[in-house]
């Protein structure tokens, strides 16, 4: 047994520490194994905030890296232990502490799986909108760390909009509780939202207070088959400009729908080159009116086909297949790299054109399947082979997509986080002054640099 393993077993029980290499391999990577894969030296599975604090304090004294981890389903390498050390498997803290209907808030531990949280809320007709497509496994802690979101971002925004308070263990082991159960606060710096999105580089989120909404009365799914990607993008722009706010507005190239159809009992009719998969929700009259409006916009701009999905089973199967799009694409290609650039919504048609231009000039297939409604397009670099030459082209495509996104006043990441996948582009987006400020914050909170080193910054964040 390693000395680290012995030490951790003095803090936690034997069953809460993993250090056999067969166990450690499970924690070597997230869903982006091609970016980074290195097993940690040990995995600790704390069950309480105090246990997290004890482990962190020990790691800080010993200068051992600590990498907090939820489900390991991330798309930016954020929870990969690139410098070894201790992975904190937060799935051991999985209690839904309280659902407070009267205040429309909930308090949950970091390891609560989003899907389980949703099922509990549904029993009370409550609604927590952020819907990263890994929702069947991903944890609230991981969501908070990355400001995760999904299709509902267009109407409801992403995780940070719902976080009202946190419990965080700092690198010196102290426990703080910024924010709280109040839905507004104008007191001091907003530390709650400093830790939200900090990707485990400032401390460990152990609990979150989350704002809830009443469950929408009804919803309807619409599929618009478009004659081209350009046309689909124009329709998205027009829907937004017309003031219609669908709950979800997904852009899908034909290939994505073909892949999804393998998992759908009554497949989506293939009558277009690009598709918009949409849901409108709210009161019944409002839903009806918005469906009509969307249909007329689609028809007006020449969509090949507009289907109002009346069968609930079908609409559920469409959205279910959409949530699995990333693994589905692996049945069609050798590797799939999902980009996360997000642009102002009126510039979606321009982003689509630029991505198509990049694909054409590099001779590399780039799919478009994303949350078009909020400008988050997920251009996807689809590897037809695994080779050095292809990887080089893919790398250039990533860079050009990111430059295009920034050129259009966008951001390099809408919901996945920076991790290590995009850390070399951070300064390109924020400029040297902002990055220096961020680093100063990092160094103040984590002077020893033990928290998730190598993420967000290539150099670990030292000034």
């Amino acid at each position: 047994m390693s000395s680290l393993g012995i030490d951790l077993r003095k803090i936690l029980s034997n069953g809460q520490v993993l250090d056999e290499k067969e166990d450690l391999l499970a924690y070597a990577n997230d869903a982006t194994f091609y970016i980074a894969s290195r097993p940690p030296d040990a995995v600790a599975v704390p069950r309480t905030t105090d246990e997290v604090s004890d482990v962190i304090r020990y790691a800080n004294e010993q200068k051992i890296p600590v990498v907090p981890r939820g489900a390991g389903s991330g798309l930016a390498g954020g929870c990969t232990p690139v410098q070894g050390g201790i992975v904190l498997d937060m799935k051991g803290m999985n209690s839904i502490v309280a659902i407070n209907r009267n205040n429309m808030t909930a308090e949950v531990e970091a390891g609560v799986v989003l899907d389980r949280f949703n099922r509990e809320l549904l029993k009370q007709k409550l609604f927590y909108p952020p819907d990263p497509q890994s929702m069947k496994v991903c944890t609230i802690g991981g969501n908070v760390a990355t400001r995760a979101g999904g299709p509902r971002g267009v109407k409801y925004g992403t995780t940070e909009r719902y976080v009202t308070g946190l419990e965080v263990v700092l690198p010196d082991g102290s426990i703080i509780t910024p924010g709280g159960k109040v839905v507004k606060q104008s007191s001091g710096y907003d530390l709650t939202h400093l830790f939200t999105g900090s990707e485990g580089t400032l401390g460990v989120v152990t609990k979150a207070n989350l704002r809830l909404l009443p469950l929408p009365e009804s919803s309807t799914t619409i599929v618009a088959a478009c004659v081209s990607a350009d046309q689909a993008a124009e329709i998205v722009s027009e829907i937004i400009a017309e003031g219609v706010v669908p709950a979800m507005l997904e852009f899908l190239i034909k290939l994505a729908v073909i892949g999804m159809n393998n998992h759908i009992k009554n497949p989506i009719p293939l009558s277009g080159e690009a598709y918009l998969l949409m849901e409108v929700d709210g009161g019944e009259a409002q839903v009806e009116a918005e469906v009509r409006k969307i249909k007329s916009i689609c028809n007006g701009l020449g969509a090949a086909d507009v289907i109002i999905v009346t069968n609930e089973y079908d609409s559920k199967s469409y959205w279910d297949a959409r949530s699995k799009l990333y693994p589905i694409m692996m049945t069609l290609f050798k590797r799939v790299i999902t980009e996360d650039v997000t642009v102002p919504r009126n510039l979606i048609p321009e982003l689509v054109r630029r991505v198509q231009g990049i694909a054409a000039s590099l001779q590399i297939p780039i799919g478009l399947a994303g949350h078009a409604g909020d400008g988050n397009m997920h251009p996807t670099i689809m590897h037809t082979e695994i080779s050095e030459a292809f990887s080089e082209k893919a790398e250039r495509a990533v860079e050009e997509i990111i430059k295009a996104g920034l050129d259009l006043s966008g951001t390099i990441s809408g919901e996945h986080g920076i991790g290590i996948h995009k850390n070399r582009f951070l300064e390109m987006e924020h400029g040297p002054v902002q990055v220096a400020l961020m680093k100063a914050i990092k160094n103040t909170i984590d002077p020893s640099g033990i928290m998730n080193p190598g993420k967000i910054w290539q150099d670990g964040g030292a000034l």
Binding site: L25, S73, S134, V137, I328, M330
Partner: protein, 400 residues
């Protein structure tokens, strides 16, 4: 089903980790070392690329899988995790010595070398030798199904079809009433029923141990018998047997083996008993009201991997008058038995089962319907005051 055959396909794993959602072992143990993704990654590192050694921990992680196929059914990258684990177990077994493997080989030998007729006697003796206590196995019937019904059974009127009935080991040895119900209903709906001689275990238990060659041997025997049986359709009632025939069997042989053609002919005729009945005579079935009863349904793990459809069974339950069908919260969660896995790792199996039992209790049902004899035994062992039966038995009670 050689590990080498899966090298390419296993690289399709996107590492999305969504398999956490459907793994009963992960649900109990809670850490990622027990998830399909890690099992696949370990098999790659240890057995395919040989970058890591075979260790007891590797074996443990590989063995601690009930082959419920939850991960495989839900894998959007369509990686056949169960088959890769079986192939890896074979590689390990081939290189293994010692008592554990002796036991396995002995067990396999009994199934492999027995006709259905004397499988029962030998298995009983075997169980004693291995220290399997009587209460950890379903009680063996004094009069197996094949000695209750055999040969060709003729309906009262001119038959609509001649069907062969392959009864699984569970029906033959533990629950012959299932077989009686299947044949009764088939006859009542004017089918001539032939129960071919010379059939034996489908091979699923051997596959689970990684004994691919043994499974192939008896599977071939079954195919030869069924191919030589004159019939329109072949009816099966056990979801694991059907999975074996429909999804696994052909993969046990090289592509140029002449048996492949016969497998295709045989499997093109196979129907799940319930599906066959609803397809051919759904309109004609007249049922009496069942006495006030609340039913629920446990979906066997292998059902959705075979020729069957849990919606049909649920639909049947819902359509029976005088009964109330209450769906479980998680009808598709594994019951914990995993065939005979529960004998090896009692604690894990019982912890998984507890979730199922809580769900059943909450439903308030007095009868649980399920197609798999091992689920039936294992659920009933945990909840002795409820009844667990095959849907065909339920139907036979209701059919006029």
């Amino acid at each position: 089903m050689k590990l080498e055959d899966y090298r390419e396909i296993s690289s399709r794993c996107s590492q999305c980790n969504f398999c956490q959602a459907s793994c009963p072992v992960f649900r109990i143990k809670g850490t990622e070392n027990w998830v399909a993704r890690n099992r696949l990654n370990l098999i790659r590192e240890v057995l395919i690329e040989k970058k890591m050694e075979v260790t007891p921990r590797f074996r443990e992680i590989l063995d601690t899988c009930l082959l419920c196929t939850g991960c495989t059914q839900n894998c959007s990258s369509m990686v056949p995790v169960d088959e890769i684990i079986i192939a890896a177990r074979k590689e390990l077994a081939d290189s293994e010595n010692g008592l554990a493997s002796m036991k396995k080989k002995l067990f396999s030998g009994v199934i492999k070398n027995s006709s259905a007729m004397n499988l029962l006697v030998k298995a009983g003796a075997m169980a004693q030798k291995l220290g399997i206590t009587p209460d950890s196995m379903p009680g063996m019937t004094a009069k197996p199904f094949f000695s209750r019904r055999s040969g060709t059974l003729k309906p009262a009127e001119t038959p609509r079809a001649r069907v062969a009935y392959y009864a699984g080991c569970g029906t033959n040895f533990f629950y012959p009433e299932t077989g009686e119900a299947v044949s009764d209903i088939l006859l009542a709906l004017n089918n001539e029923v032939v129960i071919p001689e010379g059939l034996t275990c489908c091979g699923v238990p051997l596959l689970a141990e990684g004994n691919i060659d043994g499974a192939a041997e008896i599977f071939r025997r079954n195919i030869e018998v069924l191919a030589a049986t004159e019939c329109d359709r072949i009816i099966m009632e056990c979801t694991s047997c059907i999975m074996m025939f429909m999804k696994k069997g052909a993969k046990l042989f090289p592509a140029d083996d002449p048996i492949i053609e016969k497998i295709q002919t045989v499997t093109s005729k196979i129907d799940n008993a319930l599906d066959y009945i609803s397809m051919t005579s759904g309109e004609e079935i007249k049922t009496d009201a069942l006495n006030e009863k609340k039913f629920t349904y446990h979906v066997p793990c292998h059902l959705n991997k075979s020729a069957g459809n849990s919606e049909n069974t649920a639909g049947l339950l819902a359509s029976l008058t005088g009964s109330e069908y209450i769906p479980l919260d998680e009808p598709e969660l594994c019951c914990g038995a995993g065939g005979v896995y529960y004998m090896k790792d009692r604690e894990l199996s019982e912890t998984i089962r507890n979730i199922k039992l809580m769900d059943i209790k909450k439903s308030g049902a007095s009868t649980v319907v399920t197609e798999c004899p091992m689920c039936r035994f294992y659920i009933n062992k945990g909840l002795t005051d409820i009844e667990v039966i095959h849907p065909m038995e339920l139907l036979s009670r209701a059919v006029k």
